[in-house]
Each structure stands twice: as C-alpha cells, then as structure tokens.
C-alpha cells in the first residue's frame, strides 16, 4: 500500500473551485483539519465550500449511520468512535481529512490530536467564531435542531475559553475566523509538506555518511562527474554536474573525521546552489544542539567537530547552525518512487511529519537491546519493508551495500577506513572511493578493505545482526489471503483465498526453498476441439487460432514424453551462494510444476553439475554474461517423477482390463456359438479389449528404467532468464538454438527438441506441419506444442496464448480413458469447454513472466515469490484436468 499523499486518484470527488479570496489559510496538504465552532456556526457549509465532500467527516453523519438519526445525542459515543475510525483509515492512506463536529471542548479535541499523531500527520484547527445570535437563528431555521439557545451559548463559552490552549493541545496550525464576514472571505491553500519533493525526478547521486572526510567527498564527487567550485582560499564551496545531476546527502556529514567544516562548506554550498539536497543525521542533530549551547554529552566524535568549528569565523558557525536547523527529516522524491532518510524509514512514515518520524529518520528503530559491543540492536525494518518506493539511507556502516527489499544502505564506513559510496539513481549503480586512512576506530570491528570484506567475517551481533547479510525473509502476509498481483503484461491478477491456502500447504510441505523457486511454468491449453472424424485434437485448430490472432509465424515443437521441469543452473557454488543464498549449499536446483524437487539432493547436484558443464562448454554463461541460467525444460522419462502413478493408476487399469475383457469376449463367443443373439455386445466388447491393449501401449512409452541419472534425459527448450534479463522477448529460434548447443555439449543427458517452423498463412507450410504431427503421433509421440515464433506476443485482446498443445490420438487414451475413441464417447467428449483453461493458461503465463521480469530487475525475493506462489495457487483452481 503506497500512501497517496495529496492527490487522490483516479477520480476523486471534485475539489471545490478556489475562491478569489484576499485571505488564504495555509493547510498542510496532508493534515487532519479539525473544525471548531458552536452548533450553527456554519462548519458544514465552510467544509463544503473548501474541501471535497469525501474529505469531510461529520459527526452528524456518523450519528445517522449508527442510530438512523443525525440528532440522536445518545448515539454520540458510537458516532465518534466511527468518525475516528473512518478518519484513521483515511489518514493511514495519506489523505487529508476534515472533522466536522463542534469540537468546542478540549476533551473532544484531544482524541483527534492523538489520532493525527498516530498517523504522523499535522493537526490543524480552524475555529469559526460566530456570534450567538447568528448560530441561534440558523439553528431555529432547521426543524431538526430543537435545542434552546442556551446550548449554543454554552458551546461558545467553551470555545472561547479553549482558544488560547489550542496550540498547547498539539495543533500545529490554528486559524481563527471571527464573524461571518471573515469566514466568507477566506480561501484554503494546501501547502505541500517540506519533505514532499515528488516533483524532483532526478537523476540523483545519493551519497552515504561522510563524517568529515572532505578529501574523500571531493574525490567521490569528481568520480561522479561533478566539477568542484572553490573560493579564493581554494576551498571547495560547491559542485555542479555537467548533466545537471544532483546529489542527495543521507546525513552524518559531521563528527569524527578530519574536516567537518570543509564538508559542511561544500555541502551547504551545493544545497544553496540547488545542486544538492541533504537530510540530517543524528550527528547533525547533536551538533546543532551543541552549537546552540544545549547540554549534550560530548562523544562519538562531536568534540572533533566542535574543535574544528571553533577555528572557523563566527559567521560561518552561524551559517552552519542555520543550515542544520533547516534540514528536513527525510525526502520523498521522484513521484514517490524514492525516499531518502538517514536511518531508513518504514513505508507508513513516508511523507509524514511528526516528532516521531523525525526521531525515526535520525536514529532508526531499535529493539531496546544492545549487542556485544554495546551498540543498540536495530529493528530489521528493511527485511519487513514491502513498499514500492526505493529507500536509501546510511547510519549503520556496511562493508558492501546490499539491496534488501528495495532498500539500500549507502554508508560504507568511510571514516572507519571503509569507503565513501554513492548510488546513482535511477541507474542503481554504485560508485565508491576508498578511505585514505582509518580516521576513527569503530566500536565494532569494521573490515578496512571493502574488497576483502566477506559477509561471513562480519561479526554477527545478536539475532538481528547489523550489516550481516540475512537471507531474505518471506512473511506469511506476502502470500496468504485474497491477493491481487500487478503484472506488467496482464494488469491485475487475483488469487482466491482458498487457492492461496492450498498453495501454502504445498509450498511449505513439499516445495523447495523459495530462494531457489524463482519460477513455475504455466499450464497450457489444448487446441480447440477437432471436427475430424476420429480425433479430438488436430493441428488445424492451432494454426487457425494463431492466424486469427494475427500471428503468421509459429513454431511447432515436439511435446516430450516427460514431466515439465525448471532448472536453475549456477556457474559455481560461489555464484549460487552470492546470488541466491544457495539454500541447500548446492549450485542449483531442478523442480516440478508444483515446486517439488525431482530428485534427492545428491542426484539433483549431479544433474545440475552436468547441465552446468554443458552450458559452460556451449559458452552460454559468457555469451549471456551471467553466472546462472534458468531453464524451461522437460525431464524424461515421465516415470522418473510419476512412476508410482504409472504403476498404480495406468498399469493397474491395463491389468484390470486384461483380466476381464478377454474372458468376457470368450464367454460371448461361446454364447454366440450356442446360438444366442450377442451380436453388438460381442463387437463392442472386442473393440474395448483392443482399446485396452492400445492403452497399455500408450502408457508404456512413458516409462523406462533409470538408475541415478542413467536413463534420465532433459530437454531444455527455453532460457527463461539469466542475470539481469528475462528472455521471453527472444524468438523461439534463439532459444532452441541455445538448447541445441546444450545437446551438442552433452548428448547423453540433454535431449533435442524437434521442431518445424510454420507460416500459418501458407497452406503448404501448414500441410507440411500437419504431416509432421501425423507422423510424430503415429510413431507413438505425445504430440506437439504450437507457439508464436516470436515468443511473447501481445495482441489486441491481451496476451496471445503462449502455446497450444495438439496431442496425439493414442496419447489421449491415457488422458480420456481407453475407450474414448469409440464414436459414441468421442461425440460426447467433443463438448469440452476450453474457456476456463485458456484464461487460466493466460493468467499463469502472465504471472510466470512477471516473476521473471522481477527477477531480472533484481527485485526483492518476496516480489518474485508473490508471483510464483500465485501460479501455484491458480493451479489449484478447478478445471477439467484432461485439458
């Protein structure tokens, strides 16, 4: 949920036109506006005039909701409970809210101030002070307000008594309007919050904690392409980028290091010139208090700053004080896509303003515990972060910046001898300069040379180790319940709660580690039902379907007689560890359509290694500039996975048929010889006996003995993704060519995928492909899959089916039963409905692609897992399993 800070979308209730008024009341764009005024003072009219109807919550309205009577005073407690509830929902969503109630008593206002604080928005009071007579006259004109003038008098007394205390009650802005004239004569101006820089779209260079390391800062700015401006004394006082890039400093400019004044001079110059933004760190906060003569404990390098500043002229110190005082806790930039805060910031505080938010921005959230070095243990907010905005921060030095759920700490401990880092935004490139020396000994050992810094050497501090690379943690709320997944190719896809529940069980009881499980293949629809005499499926319908969808070039790939498999193959164990965490300490994984491993660990490792060697020999890693490959494949034989099903289901059916049908045929023949009229029954029974034999022949092709990997084949037909790239935009010819190279590298293991390219608008081409299919299936083949040759194809009505399977007549016996070919049965089976299956195939495909796109973009694990989980959940939707 991204709070929509000031501009509700897409079709909000209309904002009243601003009146050309001489006096404008400033109201923060995100605030809780509390109207204060006696009954009849014109609050509702005022609210209507200046705010959207949906922004105003009136106590009368809420009274009506809970008691069917807007004036039923006995319902007041419930009405206010409801009012605060609604207001809370709006504020949580980042929407300005106006409370239309008398609010004349401090006791009535207090819960509203509390509510505003809970949501870290600014409370604003607008007081309408109207003479008693006017109020009374208005009330008298309304039939539903039958209370006497004493009520208004009392309210007005309470209001006046409370006026002086409003700001003490917590209202940051108080507007007092006296009399009808003043009230009628004002307008409302919504002022953006100071932290709202959404109109600033960058590009930016976000620089981590500097701590007085001026030389490194100058070097870094130079590396980033900035030209330093210097004063007469040669001191850097500004920097500008040739392309107009700007810097954002994450704070902690000061303390500990050798030249805090120099850093401040440069940063202040850049900020003043509009070449940089700066948020404060905890060190700025403390320095400011020290400069103002407050009683602060001098430590953590503050003494150095004060000593260095003491040698500066007083005007400079005053300038520093003003600068520090003016720093805004955090910024929301780039349309809400980027948030910068010194210690990071959970999503619900983005764009909010309160003392609490400022504290969080400066110091971060701690658990209240300390680690073995006496440093506070930090709450792992980044692990829990699920927001869309990229959050960049500093505060806790890390050896190497690591993305955690779209957040990045750019403090690489320069003052401790690490380096000074910047992140280029939106490019997401890191640029760093090493520290010239160790300026300050850290409380906790800090690896001096970031190149040599191995995450494993970084000391773990308590259960939530700062800086240690924690495996990306998935939360139940990432997957459970009714969900809507936003995909780029097919908009929003919903998952029902019951389906998610089923998927959760399979995911947690049977699937491999989610860090491996980066993709699940979608289900595939069969072609429309054939009208050819004894067939249920025929290639004609596939070519027709694609031609009608505007697709001329298609590829027919043989349908392997195995199980769909996804293989993640890393170039080395190190690569697997670095990129995916190598959950089971192997260099990859191979999994089924529901995320189960095909083989036990050792055998999987062997299979992955063979694939790795083949990919290495074929040069795929280098060519795709990647340390891993995600392959879409078919694993053969089917019996390797479904051996039990083959034996207990298919072979058993065959055995039962073999045991009973020939006996029945014998008996019927005997009866026929005895002169009984068994005619049709005997013919039918003979035919069924033949069907059963054909059924046996059909399933037998799906099994052969395997021993370890011996006998196992894998037929890759698509490279789903590699580092930084998803490959569904590449034509199938490209994919199949890579697959062929894998076959060439290890022909014993890797099986080729036979195919034929077809122009659906050329009858000859279509006929050739049909003949190919006929030959393939006559020889016992399962059939073929027809796909748009270009791969992902989007037509006028969304994604074109990524593939249509055309299954062979004999293969379908094991799907539809031995006797499905009997004309009477076939006739009825033709009535199959494909709509749901097609829609499911499309949705699962879109989700699968989304997982790959997110993976390629380096998005956090939960974002990838969300899609993978959704595919599994959709697979549990009820659909005819024979399709």
């Amino acid at each position: 949920m991204t709070p929509d800070r000031t501009e509700p979308s897409p079709s909000p209730s209309p904002l009243p036109l601003p009146l050309p008024s001489p006096r404008q009341l400033a109201v923060p764009a995100l605030s809780l506006v509390v109207l204060v005024g006696a009954s009849g003072s014109g609050k509702s009219t005022f609210a209507r005039t200046h705010f959207r109807a949906t922004e105003v919550i009136s106590s009368d309205f809420c009274r009506g909701l809970v008691a069917d009577d807007e004036n039923d005073q006995s319902a007041t407690p419930e009405a206010f409970e409801l009012l605060r509830y609604i207001a809370g929902k709006r504020l949580a969503a980042g929407r300005l809210t106006v409370i239309d109630a008398t609010n004349v008593q401090p006791d009535a206002r207090r819960p509203l101030v509390t509510l505003a604080r809970e949501h870290d928005v600014l409370p604003v009071a607008i007081v309408l002070d109207v003479p008693e007579g006017v109020c009374a006259a208005r009330n008298a004109s309304r039939a539903d307000r039958d209370f006497g003038p004493h009520v208004v008098r009392r309210q007005r007394d309470q209001l006046r008594r409370g006026l002086r205390g409003l700001s003490r009650e917590g209202f940051r802005t108080v507007h007092l309007l006296r009399g009808e004239g003043e009230i009628a004569d004002v307008g409302i101006t919504r002022t953006p919050l100071f932290n709202d820089l959404r109109h600033e779209t960058g590009p930016f260079d976000v620089i981590g904690d500097i701590h007085g390391c001026r030389a490194e800062l100058e070097a870094l700015l130079d590396r980033l392409g900035y030209t330093l401006g210097r004063d007469e004394a040669g001191r850097a006082v500004g920097a500008a980028h040739r392309d107009g890039r700007r810097v954002i400093f994450v704070g902690d400019l000061v303390d500990r290091g050798p030249d805090t004044p120099g850093v401040l001079r440069l940063v202040m110059g850049m900020v003043a010139a509009g070449a940089a933004f700066c948020v404060p760190g905890n060190h700025e906060n403390k320095l400011l208090r020290a400069l103002r003569g407050r009683d602060v404990r001098i430590g953590h390098g503050l003494a150095e700053s004060l000593a260095q500043l003491a040698t500066e002229p007083a005007p400079f110190r005053a300038q520093v004080e003003r600068f520090l005082d003016g720093l805004i806790s955090h910024y929301v930039l780039d349309g809400g896509g980027l948030v910068v805060a010194h210690a990071g910031l959970p999503e619900r505080y983005h764009g909010r303003a309160s003392g609490r938010v400022r504290e969080l921005c400066l110091y971060g959230e701690t658990t209240g515990e300390s680690d073995e070095y006496g440093l506070p243990v930090r709450h792992p907010w980044a692990q829990e972060y699920r927001g869309k905005a990229t959050v960049l921060y500093g505060h806790t030095p890390v050896p190497t910046p690591e993305w955690v759920n779209n957040t990045l700490c750019v403090d690489t401990g320069c003052v401790f001898g690490g380096s000074l880092s910047a992140l280029r935004y939106p490019e997401r490139e890191l640029v760093a300069v090493p520290a010239a020396e160790v300026y300050w000994a850290p409380a906790r050992p800090f690896p001096a040379n970031p190149e040599a810094a191995d995450a494993a050497e970084w000391p773990a501090a308590g259960s939530v180790a700062v800086g240690r690379r924690d495996p990306e943690v998935l939360d139940l709320t990432d997957v459970l319940g009714t969900r809507v997944v936003e995909t780029r190719h097919q908009k929003r896809i919903s998952v029902r709660e019951g389906n998610a529940a089923a998927a959760l069980e399979v995911m947690s009881r049977f699937a491999i580690d989610p860090r491996w499980l980066l993709h699940l293949p979608p289900t595939m629809s069969p072609v429309a039902t054939s009208t050819v005499a004894d067939l249920l499926e025929h290639p004609d319908q596939a070519f027709e379907a694609y031609r009608d969808a505007g697709v001329a070039a298609v590829v027919c790939e043989e349908k392997h007689m195995g199980s769909r498999a996804v293989a993640l193959v890393c170039r080395s164990l190190d690569a697997a560890r670095g990129r995916f965490g190598a959950p089971d300490d192997r260099a990859g994984a191979v999994w089924t359509r529901t995320g189960r491993p095909f083989f036990p660990g050792e055998l999987t490792a062997e299979l992955v290694d063979r694939l790795r060697a083949a990919a290495e020999a074929a040069g795929l890693f280098d060519e795709l500039d990647t340390s891993w490959l995600l392959l879409d494949a078919e694993l053969l034989p089917w019996s390797a996975k479904a051996g039990q099903l083959l034996r207990e289901q298919y072979a058993a059916v065959g055995a039962a048929a073999r045991a009973s049908l020939p006996v029945a045929v014998d008996l019927l023949e005997q009866a026929a010889r005895g002169g009984r009229e068994v005619g049709d029954l005997l013919i039918r029974t003979r035919s069924r006996a033949a069907n059963a034999a054909a059924f046996g022949a059909a399933y037998r092709r799906y099994q052969w003995p395997t021993d370890g990997l011996r006998g196992v084949r894998i037929a890759p037909f698509q490279v789903l993704a590699s580092e930084g790239a998803a490959h569904h935009g590449r034509p199938h010819a490209w994919h199949l060519d890579l697959a062929d190279r894998l076959v060439a590298a290890d022909p014993d293991l890797v099986a080729p995928t036979r195919r034929i390219f077809v122009d659906t608008t050329e009858p000859e081409s279509v006929a050739a492909a049909t003949a190919w299919w006929t030959e393939l299936t006559a020889a016992g083949g399962e059939g073929m899959v027809v796909k748009p040759a270009a791969n992902l194809t989007v037509g006028r009505r969304g994604i074109v089916q990524p593939g249509l399977k055309v299954r062979g007549r004999e293969y379908l016996r094991i799907i539809y039963g031995p006797d499905y070919t009997e004309p009477a049965n076939l006739e009825r089976l033709r009535e199959r409905g494909l709509g749901h299956k097609r829609s499911l195939a499309q949705r699962e495909y879109a989700l699968g692609l989304e997982a790959l796109d997110r993976l390629a973009l380096g998005e956090p694990l939960w974002r990838v897992h969300e899609c993978v989980f959704a595919v599994l959940a959709l697979e549990s939707e009820p659909v005819d399993p024979r399709l």
Binding site: A501, S508, A659, S660, G817, P878
Partner: protein, 472 residues
C-alpha cells in the same frame, strides 16, 4: 466387469428358473452407470453357466455422478479400473438383475431354490488392495472353496511385479440366493473401493443382506468397517488438484492427518499420543506458560488439552493444512464456544516457511511430531521462524526416536512410522540438532523421554525442551 455362476446340479438349465432369466436369451438392463447384460455361454445338460457383464459407460461414469458436477473430478476419475474390476457397481447390478432370486423365491422350482446346490463362481478381476488372502478370509467361513490366481501387472514390464487384481474362483454347495447375497455384500468389501460412493441407506441394505451370516462371520468387523470407512468422498479439493498437477495421487498430498502406522500395543493403558500430550503439558505446567502456540496442531488434540488448562490464557493453534484446521475447528467446537472461550483460542493457517507475526509474543511453542515432516533442507527455515523470529521463551519439540523402531512389531524393518516422515532421528541426532539450534539462537536445551525408556533403544518418542537464555 464380469462374473459367472455355474452349476452342475441336474438339470443344470434350471438355473434359469432360479435366476428368473431365460437361458436362451440375452437380457439387458439399464443401470445407473451403464448396461448390465445377462447371458448364458453354456447350457449343456449337466452344466449351465450364466454370465453377468456390466458394460460401464465411462463418460456417464464421470458425468452421471452426483456431487460437485462441473467442479471436475480428479484425473483418476476419468482413467480408472471401474469399468473392469468387480466392485460395488457389480454388486448393485447383481441386486437389480437378480432381485427376486436373491430373496430365494422361485415359484417354478421352489424346492430347488431351497436346496444347496453345487455352484462355481468366477470373478476374473477383483482388486486386491486389501490383500490377496482376503477372498479366502471372507468366503471360506461361508462354506466356499476359494482359488485365487494373479498375473503380472504388465507382461511387457516384468520388473513391475504382480497385478493388483485377482482372479477369484469359488466352489461350494450353497443355496443360490445365499450365494448371491454373499457376492452382493462381499464384492464391494473385496474391492475396497475408493471411487464409488455408497450412500448411507445402501450400507443398511447391504448389512441387511448379510443379516443371516454376517454376525457370526469371523471377519464381520472388517466387513462392517470397510463399508463405513469408505463412504468418504473423493471430491477434488483444491489440494487434490495440486497433487494432480504433479502427477501424484491426491492422498499423497492430503496426508496431513492420517497415515501413521498404528504402533500402540492394545494392552497399553495410555497411548503414545496421550503420553506425548501428557509430557508436553507437564513441561508447560512446570514453566507456567500462559500463551502457548501449538505449531502444526493437526486435528487439534493437543490444543484441546491446552484449552482445558485453566492456567493457559491463550492458545495459538496453527497448521499448514487448511483441512486439518477445519477438522480441528469442528473437534474443538469453535462455533459453539462462548465468547470468553473463543477469545482464548487463535486457530490459524500458518507455515514454518514464512515468518508469521501472529506467532510472536508466545511464552511457549510446541512442535509435537512436526520437525520430522519437514525436509532436512528446509529445517533452517523452521529454525529461523520459530527460534529466530517467534522466539518464545520455551520451545518443545517432540519427534520419534528411530532407535526404538525395532520394538514395534508391526513396523517393517527400516520403515518410518509415517509415510510423510522425511527423517526419523536417533537420540544422538536430536541432541546434535537441538544443541546447535540452541547455541545459534540463545537457548539452553534439555531432553526428556516420552513413553517407556527402553534401556537399550531408548523411549519411543523424545522431547527436547528449549529455554531461551535470559539476557545478562
């Protein structure tokens, strides 16, 4: 599916009178799932054979089903042995077709109907899921000589072994009506069908058909139990559909509840499961835990005991299986609970693969017979969510002690106690795991036996009690 009945009682053709079916004609009857045909392959003077052939319509078998039409059934509903193997469907057809004969009424040959005559019955395909000696156990006490034969599962794939279908021949001197009743009741028992549902009233009918002989039958309990236990419908739950996506059998996935080998000797006063719950409660009492999580609560047996403890203020019962939770909910009577009782229980679907905030803030978490259902490669995730994230003051882990398995007579050597067990640990293995986990997450651990602590192989179940070390 097929059966034949032959007699040599002269004149053999009189079998037609007994059955009320003329030997020279082919009789066809419409049945719910197809057509039943009665014909006589053989009517010589000294021998007469009648055949009942039920021609199942496979499409109707699927579409004609009562129940969630349109929901779609498991793939096994489309490709199965029902058209071939003798089952309750054949029994139903038998009853429809030979209704009068089964009552023993025969106006044309009343004495013959009342006479035990030599009969030979042949059922060429009977499922043997229940074991190949079952035909003998069922029919011999009723006076039949039983011959059972079997063939290969697939003659072309010899390594697959024997067919699960039996060719059963019965020979005996029995009244025909009785013989028909025997078949009517016992064919479905033999078949042990998973697919064909028997309605409640049918069960009554079947048992009535066996009223004369069933009570004294040595296997009467098994016969009755079969009927009652196999009324469970195999509808396609969302979970079953996922099994099928991966070409596995739905039962293989939906085993969160059943499937444990029955290991308790009948003479033991407390079952092992009860002892486990007892030991767990004892530890919880000794630690005065108030908020207790039952992680992997299954059907809620432990949760029920926890709720009965007055000192426990709140129980969080969690399981990954939505079905287990439904059963737990109804067992615990969640719907009938008062508000104050209801407020003590949180029953939630959760998973140890995912961090779950609802599992935080517990005094104690119990993982009773849970870890052994987790793949060794996924144990790390369990450790992180339970010990690292939820981090209750107390964690109780019970798990089988594999050393003790040799003491279970019914457990084949080397077999695990439950088909979903991913491993079973020895005492040393549990200690090693527990020691490492405790060290990594700041707990201390102690070990307790559950059940009789055998001097040689230890107790049947082992309990590890983790206590979070108090920060200095």
């Amino acid at each position: 599916m097929l059966l034949t009945i032959a007699t040599t009682h002269p004149p053999a053709r009189d079998l037609g009178f007994l059955l009320h079916k003329h030997p020279d004609r082919v009789h066809s009857f419409t049945e719910p799932m197809g057509t039943a045909h009665v014909f006589y392959p053989e009517t010589t003077g000294d021998r007469c054979t009648v055949a009942l052939l039920l021609e199942v319509d496979p499409v109707r078998l699927v579409r004609g089903r009562a129940g969630p039409a349109g929901e779609g059934f498991a793939l096994t509903q489309y490709v199965n042995d029902r058209p071939y193997a003798a089952s309750s469907m054949l029994a139903m057809a038998l009853k429809d077709v030979f209704r009068t004969a089964m009552t023993g009424r025969c106006d044309a040959r009343p004495e013959l109907a009342a006479t035990a005559i030599p009969l030979e019955i042949h059922v060429p395909a009977v499922a043997s899921r229940a074991g190949s000696d079952l035909p003998r156990r069922l029919f011999e006490p009723l006076g039949w000589q039983v011959a059972v034969a079997t063939g290969p599962l697939d003659p072309d794939v010899p390594e697959w072994g024997e067919s699960p279908y039996l060719d059963v021949r019965l020979r005996g001197t029995v009244r025909l009506a009785e013989a028909l009743n025997h078949l009517y009741v016992l064919l479905p028992v033999l078949d042990d069908a998973k697919h064909y549902r028997v309605g409640g009233d049918e069960v009554d009918k079947l048992l009535r058909a066996g009223a004369d002989w069933l009570p004294s039958h040595p296997e009467s309990e098994l016969i009755a139990r079969r009927y009652l236990s196999h009324r469970r419908e195999l509808t396609r739950s969302a979970l079953a559909r996922l099994a099928e996506v991966d070409d596995t059998e739905p039962e293989q996935l939906d085993d969160a509840l059943a499937g444990a080998v029955d290991l308790d000797p009948p003479d033991r006063p407390l079952s092992l499961a009860e002892q486990r719950r007892g030991a767990v409660l004892a530890v919880l009492r000794s630690h005065a835990a108030r908020r207790v999580g039952d992680l992997g609560c299954g059907e809620g047996l432990l949760a029920r005991d926890l709720l009965a403890e007055g000192t426990i203020e709140h129980v969080v019962a969690a399981d990954a299986s939505a079905r287990a939770l439904r059963i737990a909910g109804s067992r615990l009577g969640v719907e009938r609970m008062s508000d104050s009782q209801r407020a003590r229980l949180t029953l939630i679907q959760s998973s140890l693969t995912y961090r779950d905030e609802r599992l935080t803030g517990l005094d104690a978490a119990v993982l009773m017979e849970v870890v052994e259902h987790v793949d060794p490669s996924r144990l790390g995730a369990l450790e992180a969510t339970v010990f690292g994230y939820a981090a209750p003051a107390l964690v109780l882990v019970t798990t089988p002690n594999v050393e003790h398995n040799v003491r279970f007579a019914t457990l084949p050597a080397g077999a695990m106690r439950h088909r979903d067990h991913r491993f079973e640990w020895s005492r040393a293995q549990l200690r090693a795991w527990a020691g490492r986990v405790a060290a990594e997450h700041g707990y201390t651990v102690r070990h307790l036996p559950i059940g009789p602590d055998d001097p040689e192989v230890g107790p049947p179940t082992q309990l590890a009690v983790f206590s979070r070390a108090v920060a200095a």
